[in-house]
Symmetry: C2
Subunit: 263 residues, 2 copies
C-alpha cells in the first residue's frame, strides 16, 4: 500500500496554529515522523488559512522539501494555491485533487499540462454525489480520458472513488468497495486511492472503523491511502492484511513490522 | 456473524486439567462467559482425554446444558464419542465435523441420519489438502448432496473451507477467500463456517492476523466463525466490519457494542 500521510492538514487545529505562527520545527517534525512511519507522500493542506493559503504554501513547501526525501501531495481546491504550490515544488508532486466538476477541470487541467504532477482524480462531477458504482466508473473513465489526452502516464494517475459516511448511508461502505472493484477491474494499470476516514464520520471509535475499512479496501483493490501513519493500530492492520492477501512476499514486511517493536 | 465459542477445547491445558479433575465450575464458567460475550454455540472438545473422552463428554454435556441457553458443537473425530455426545445432548447440537474422507462419511453419516444434528462439513477428502478452490467446491458439492439425501435442511448445514497457515503457504489466505466466495456463490442458502485461527499458525501476534482475516472472510461470505468471543479485539473488529458491510441495520449492534464498554 502506498501511504499518503494526512497529518499536515490545516483543518487540524495544531497544524493551523503552527502554519499561522510560521513554526517550521512543528511542521518539519510532523512531516518527518510520517516519512519515518512509512509514508511515500506527505499531504499538505493549508486551505483553512484562507487568504493566507498561497503564501503559506509558498513558505512551507521549500522548508519541508529540504528535510524530506519524499514528495508532497498538494491538497487544495484553490487553483491559484495549486499553481503556486506546483511552481515551487521540486520534482513531481501530487495534485490533490482533480475531479469531474466543470470548474475544477477548467482550472486544474491546464496545471496538469503545465506542471505534469501525479494526479488524484476524484470520482465526482457537477451532478453531485454519484449514487451507483456504474456512475463512479463513468466519471473515472472520463477523467482518465482527459488525463491521457494531456499525455499523463498511467503510473501518474490515482483514481479516488468517493468515501461517504456510513452513519449517513448504511450502504456507503458497500458502494465504495463495489466502485473500487469496478474501477480497478476496468483500469488494472491505474492506481486507486482513498481518504478512508470519511467512512466513520459522526460515529464513535472512528479509528476502529477506519482500520477495518482499510483492510476491506485493500482486498477490493486499493493501492494507496491517505491516512495517519502514526496510528500504530492502522499500520498493524495494514501489515497483517498485506501478509494475508499475498501482498508481502515471504511475510518479510509483517515480520519486520512486528520485530521493530513499533506495535 | 454466528459465533461458535472455541474455548472449551481440551487442547488448551487449563481445560484439559479441568476436565480431568471433573471441575464443573471451571467448565460452566468458561461456557457462560462465551455465551454472554455473544456465542450462539459452544464448541466442546474432549479429544485430548483419549480413552476418557467418551465418559468426559457424557459427564460434561448435561452439566453445561443445564446452565446454558445455547446448544453445543460436538468437536471430535471419534465416532463413538460423537454418538454418545449426540445421544445425551438435548435439542439440536452441531456435529463438528463431517468431511469428505471415506472413513468419516462411513462412521458419521449414519449419526446424522439417526440424531439429525446441525453439521459442519469440512471440505477435505482422502486425497488430502485440496490445492484449488474448484477442488474445495467439488468436495462441498458432494457433501451437500450426501447430507440432502439424509433429508437434512439447508439451514442445518455449515460448509467449512480449509484454513491453512499463511506461514506455510503464502497463498493460503487468498485460496481460502476464493474457496469461500465460490462455495457461497454456489450455495447461497447454505451457511459457511471456519476456524480462522489456523491462518496465523507459526507467526507472531496471531490475534492481529486472526481478526484481520475474520474481517476479510466476512466480506467473502463467511456466516459463522469458531473463535474466542472473550477476545475483545476480534469482537470489536467483527462489529466494525458488520457495520461497514451493511450487515448491521441502523448500526444498532455497533453502537450497542461500543456503548457497552466491553471494548
Amino acid at each position: 500500500m502506498i501511504i499518503i500521510g494526512e497529518r499536515l492538514n490545516s483543518t487540524r487545529h495544531p497544524v493551523l496554529q503552527a502554519m499561522e505562527r510560521r513554526d517550521k520545527k512543528y511542521l518539519i517534525d510532523e512531516a518527518k515522523k510520517q516519512e519515518a512511519a512509512g509514508a511515500s507522500y506527505i499531504d499538505l493542506n493549508a486551505a483553512a488559512l484562507l487568504d493566507k493559503e498561497v503564501e503559506t504554501l509558498r513558505w512551507a513547501i521549500p522548508i519541508l522539501q529540504k528535510e524530506l526525501s519524499i514528495p508532497l501531495s498538494i491538497d487544495t481546491p484553490n487553483p491559484e494555491a495549486m499553481e503556486e504550490a506546483l511552481k515551487v515544488h521540486r520534482g513531481q508532486a501530487i495534485m490533490n485533487s482533480l475531479s469531474g466538476e466543470t470548474k475544477r477541470i477548467k482550472t486544474f487541467l491546464p496545471l496538469v499540462s503545465k506542471y505534469r504532477p501525479r494526479v488524484i482524480a476524484l470520482c465526482l462531477d457537477d451532478e453531485g454525489l454519484p449514487r451507483s458504482s456504474d456512475k463512479e466508473l463513468s466519471i473515472a473513465t472520463r477523467l482518465v480520458s482527459l488525463l491521457r489526452k494531456e499525455k499523463l502516464g498511467l503510473e501518474d494517475i490515482f483514481l479516488d472513488p468517493l468515501v461517504r459516511p456510513v452513519a449517513v448511508d448504511q450502504k456507503a461502505g458497500e458502494l465504495f468497495l463495489e466502485s473500487l472493484e469496478k474501477i480497478k477491474k476496468n483500469f488494472p494499470r491505474i492506481k486507486t486511492v482513498a481518504g478512508i476516514s470519511n467512512i466513520s464520520f459522526g460515529l464513535p471509535r472512528r479509528k476502529l472503523l477506519n482500520r477495518t475499512f482499510l483492510v476491506l479496501s485493500l482486498k477490493a483493490g486499493l493501492d494507496a491511502a491517505i491516512l495517519d501513519p502514526l496510528d500504530k493500530e492502522i499500520m498493524a492492520a495494514l501489515s497483517a492484511a498485506e501478509a494475508l492477501l499475498g501482498k508481502d512476499p515471504s511475510l518479510k514486511n509483517y515480520l519486520k513490522f512486528i520485530r521493530s517493536g513499533k506495535w
